[in-house]
């Protein structure tokens, strides 16, 4: 029955769309429902801390050097045992990322010797003013973990001499 074949095909098409009318919808109601991001998602940067509350960032500016978009600006200052921000000699007194320049490539993560900078899961980064595009250290650094002091800490002399933690397993 070649004559009815086109009609059968058209009816099949209509039947398909009619069935989709009652199918479960796939829409995610975005601001109310959010899908979790993938583990390797590269969102907004976070500056990490050690468990005792000291900052991992030592102000070496290797991230700034690795950044292809020149989005990171680091200025470092000397740590003292009276006012200690991070292990070792120096810490980042200024740490700014220009979010208008950042391309979320993750090179800063790779360059960091202490794994201080990490691209997190935050992706809602809208702002209404160009000045708000520059994220200072206060916005990037994560809060001190529970029970730990915030920086600057007063520490025993001679404890935090290594800026980069000693590698326990070189394979890692």
């Amino acid at each position: 029955m070649r004559v009815v074949e086109p009609f059968v095909e058209m009816a099949r098409g209509l039947w398909t769309t009619l069935n989709y009318l009652f199918e479960k919808k796939v829409t995610t109601q975005y601001p109310e429902q959010k899908k979790p991001v993938k583990p390797r998602f590269r969102g907004r940067h976070v500056l990490k801390r050690y468990e005792n509350g000291l900052e991992k960032c030592i102000g070496c500016a290797l991230c700034a050097a690795a950044c292809p978009a020149d989005a990171i600006f680091v200025e470092s200052s000397e740590n003292t045992d009276e006012k200690r921000f991070s292990p070792g000699d120096r810490y980042a007194s200024t740490y700014e990322i220009n979010m208008l320049r950042c391309i979320y490539c993750g090179f800063c993560e790779d360059a960091c010797p202490t794994e201080a900078i990490v691209l997190g899961d935050q992706y809602e980064l809208s702002f209404t003013d160009r000045k708000q595009a520059i994220y200072p250290k206060e916005m990037l650094i994560e809060p001190a973990p529970a029970g730990a002091q915030p920086t600057p800490q007063k520490t025993e002399p001679g404890v935090y001499t290594r800026s980069v933690p000693a590698m326990k397993d070189p394979v890692d």
Binding site: R2, V3, P6, G13, Y20, E23, K25, T27, Q29
Partner: protein, 377 residues
């Protein structure tokens, strides 16, 4: 004609225009919702519950948008074209009966504005004016895409108007009158007490031609050549923005409502339905339900079928629909004459004969499309 009549006409015309404009606004929402559901989406749901305030939000947006006029546009025609398009779309509904006449508060109320004895002719002639609006919109925009869209629309709408008119003729022949009220009345009886005497049952092929030609006439998918996005950006309304665009949009959707109302009246029994004779207010309800279903069909077809190629559109209109509709008018006339002169069972000649002719047409298209050299062209 008394002052009371004039006031009644004014009120009825005003109410009908308001219903059509409100219907246009909610038709856009209906279409967006149904299209969304068919695409596994939810559709507008932010403005009000289930998005019921979405048309209002759209209207406010369109009113406050900047109106652009292209530099070398023909300003007067550019301004007039949306008006020429939207007025026939609203005026066309004047002859459609929305329900039976009934007495309310001691006043005899007719649910139509004009009772023309050539109602179908009026519809055909007013519908043709809308082509001017579209082609002038395309031409005055000084934009090649708009121009092409306008030209396509003229060719397409004029071609399909012939098939549309001939499918109207089959309904006119079945009812024996051009008055819309007579056409509805002719479909009010039943066979064996339960099968409604709708024209769609007597002339299914005429109805099919009407539905196809209608899609082409109101530039709906799969015949939306004048506004084919992939080829012509937006076709004839490329250069329109703000309220002028809203008028063109309104014309398109109001025409959808109007043509569904006409189809419901001519082929699907108008306001006739169960219990209408006992409760006259059910008439508009049935009419609304039929329009709703026909509109759903248009949206459904849009969600399903891809746009057909322009040369095939014209070939289909001229080489298939026109001869087929002529044949159907002939068969309808023969069936009616046999029914009147010989035996009332000869009325069956109409559906059987038209279905046979339609099968012949489909078979010949099928043969043509399967020819190897057709695919290359």
């Amino acid at each position: 004609m008394t002052l009371g009549h004039v006031i009644e006409w004014l009120i009825k015309g005003f109410v009908l225009a308001l219903i059509l404009l409100g219907g246009f606004a909610y038709l856009t929402l209906y279409e967006r919702k149904v299209l969304a559901w068919m695409q596994s989406r939810i559709g507008p749901n932010r403005a009000g519950p289930w998005g019921v305030l979405q048309p209002i939000a759209d209207a406010v947006k369109l009113i406050f948008k900047e109106e652009l006029t292209p530099a070398n546009a023909d300003k007067l025609i550019f301004l007039l074209a949306p008006v020429i398009t939207v007025v026939p779309a609203v005026v066309i509904t004047a002859v459609i009966p929305w329900g039976p006449s009934f007495d309310i508060f001691g006043y005899h109320l007719n649910l139509y504005i004009a009772d023309l004895n050539v109602g179908v002719l009026y519809i055909m002639s007013v519908a043709s004016i809308a082509v001017y609006g579209i082609v002038l919109a395309g031409w005055s925009s000084n934009n090649k895409y708009a121009m092409l869209g306008g030209l396509r629309s003229t060719a397409q709408m004029i071609s399909y108007e012939i098939a549309l008119g001939l499918s109207f003729v089959s309904a006119i022949l079945l009812a024996g009158s051009m008055r819309m009220l007579d056409i509805v009345a002719a479909q009010s009886q039943t066979w064996f007490g339960f099968i409604p005497k709708w024209s769609v049952l007597l002339q299914p092929v005429g109805t099919a031609i009407f539905l196809i030609a209608t899609l082409a006439e109101v530039n709906r998918a799969p015949f939306d050549m004048p506004e084919a996005e992939q080829e012509l950006t937006a076709g004839y309304h490329t250069e329109y923005s703000g309220m002028k665009f809203a008028l063109l949009f309104m014309a398109e959707y109001t025409k959808m409502i109007a043509i569904s109302a006409i189809g419901a009246t001519l082929f699907f029994g108008g306001y006739n339905g169960p219990f209408v004779s006992r409760f006259p207010w059910l008439g508009p309800v049935w009419m609304f339900a039929k329009i709703f279903v026909l509109l759903f069909g248009m949206i459904w077809v849009r969600a399903t079928f891809p746009r057909i190629r322009y040369d095939r559109l014209m070939a289909f209109g001229w080489k298939v629909l026109l001869p087929l509709s002529l044949a159907i008018v002939f068969i309808t006339a023969v069936g009616i004459v046999l029914h009147d002169q010989v035996n009332h069972w000869f009325l069956l000649v109409i559906p059987v004969g038209s279905l046979l002719v339609a099968g012949l047409a489909v078979a010949s298209i099928d043969r043509m499309l399967r020819r190897k050299d057709y695919a290359r062209r």
